[in-house]
Symmetry: C2
Subunit: 258 residues, 2 copies
């Protein structure tokens, strides 16, 4: 894809996300309809659904022949990364959205024949839109974002997952202890954006494709590494423990996990 | 103390905190001087010290005969809560201040003969100033804050401490598991302000006097409970595991801890 074409697409997607944010803020003024998906800790609201509906509709206009994978299932059934694939999370951190009205994100990742191409993470209440990809660089609210320093695990705060830390999966307690301290926000989008901004040295959580599709594009563009917790490459169509970190922190974490 | 006099004091302290915030923001544009206190996870910076110096100086002007207890030791040695006592934390969440340039707070608590009288928590980067006390109510940026709903532990997110969760002190893992999920921000001030705002159903951490002096005043004013982790009353001149929660969540937590 030509850089010029990508730049236009990038502008169009950012415009869609700003419109989506305005709609979500308006809906937050009204009563939410909340239901449980798999458990009392896994929620979905009318806003997740209506926002996915909106994003799918808008992306179809932009890229009619693409496949769209959405968390709430309002897009396509996607079984291959061939061609143009959009992966979207309309509200990431729904628990926070419901109980805090803060600390949630919208995310869109764009892959072309499996290649990470464009990524978007929008911290809705903080009004910080991370956007870009390998050919364009990364911006925050349209200002260029510099790559974070390659800090070692011992010199940074670490983004943890509550369940993994409590149950000490993947040596999460030892990893957190080796870092300057664990932080748990409850939104992959927000925590990955903090890694991008250099506020965390890494983030490890059990993630589904829409939780890290956008973050992978942005992180790799900034020289961060994205892998499974054992260091193997991620697969964009499956779920698992995913690590997003500086190169130095990744090396230390792989040593702890093995 | 007359309500009128308290209102004047309340306005004066808020003005001092806004001035303090402006100074801290200006200092953040320059190089920080960071040193370790008790360990690599316990930092102090030139800004903690200069801001405590400023706050002590300003509070002395306002209340010349009071005693002032400050985290960095630039106030008085305080061995009794008799008379007027100000307890201040110039930068709460210094680790976040250094590594995230976000998620830190300034706090001031005011006690008269041991009675919680005025409290201030300023989320510096979020620009949210929680202020008030039992005779004045609580405001956020001068707008009245309603008391949060008395949610049970099972229906809210829980503010945890990293070390207590990792080492499972005080059954912190069971408490977090019973809630809708743990959140770890790394600043007592920010996490207590989230309890005040109804975004967390409670917060448990090992705290020193300046970590909870302000929060106790504000929380009790809003009908929340503040106690040691065994349910006993807190002592403002000693450190320990302190729980700030809704009444319902406190009942559930005391059952888990015992």
């Amino acid at each position: 894809m030509e850089t010029n074409e990508l730049q236009q697409l990038n502008q169009a997607v950012q415009a869609i996300m700003r419109q989506s944010r305005a709609q979500v803020l308006a809906q937050m003024g009204k009563q939410l309809t909340v239901s449980e998906k798999t458990s009392r800790k896994d929620l979905v609201t009318n806003v997740d659904k209506s926002n996915e509906h909106f994003l799918v509709h808008e992306l179809r206009q932009l890229d009619p022949n693409a496949k769209i994978l959405g968390e709430e299932g309002l897009g396509d059934t996607v079984t291959s990364m061939a061609g143009h694939v959009w992966i979207i999370d309309p509200i990431d951190g729904t628990m926070n959205f419901v109980h805090q009205r803060d600390h949630f994100a919208m995310m869109i990742g764009y892959y072309v024949d499996g290649t990470p191409t464009l990524g978007y993470i929008y911290d809705v209440m903080g009004d910080r839109l991370f956007a870009g990809g390998p050919k364009l660089g990364v911006t925050v609210n349209e200002q260029p974002l510099a790559a974070p320093a390659d800090l070692p695990l011992t010199e940074g705060l670490f983004g943890a997952s509550g369940p993994l830390l409590i149950h000490d999966r993947f040596q999460m307690q030892a990893i957190a202890h080796a870092s300057l301290g664990p932080r748990i926000i409850g939104s992959a989008g927000i925590q990955i954006s903090q890694v991008l901004a250099g506020e965390l040295v890494g983030y490890l959580s059990y993630l589904r494709p829409w939780d890290f599709a956008a973050g992978r594009v942005l992180a790799e563009t900034l020289g961060l590494v994205v892998s499974q917790v054992d260091g193997k490459p991620v697969n964009m169509l499956s779920s698992g423990a995913v690590l997003i970190a500086t190169k130095s922190a990744q090396r230390a974490i792989l040593t702890i996990v093995r």
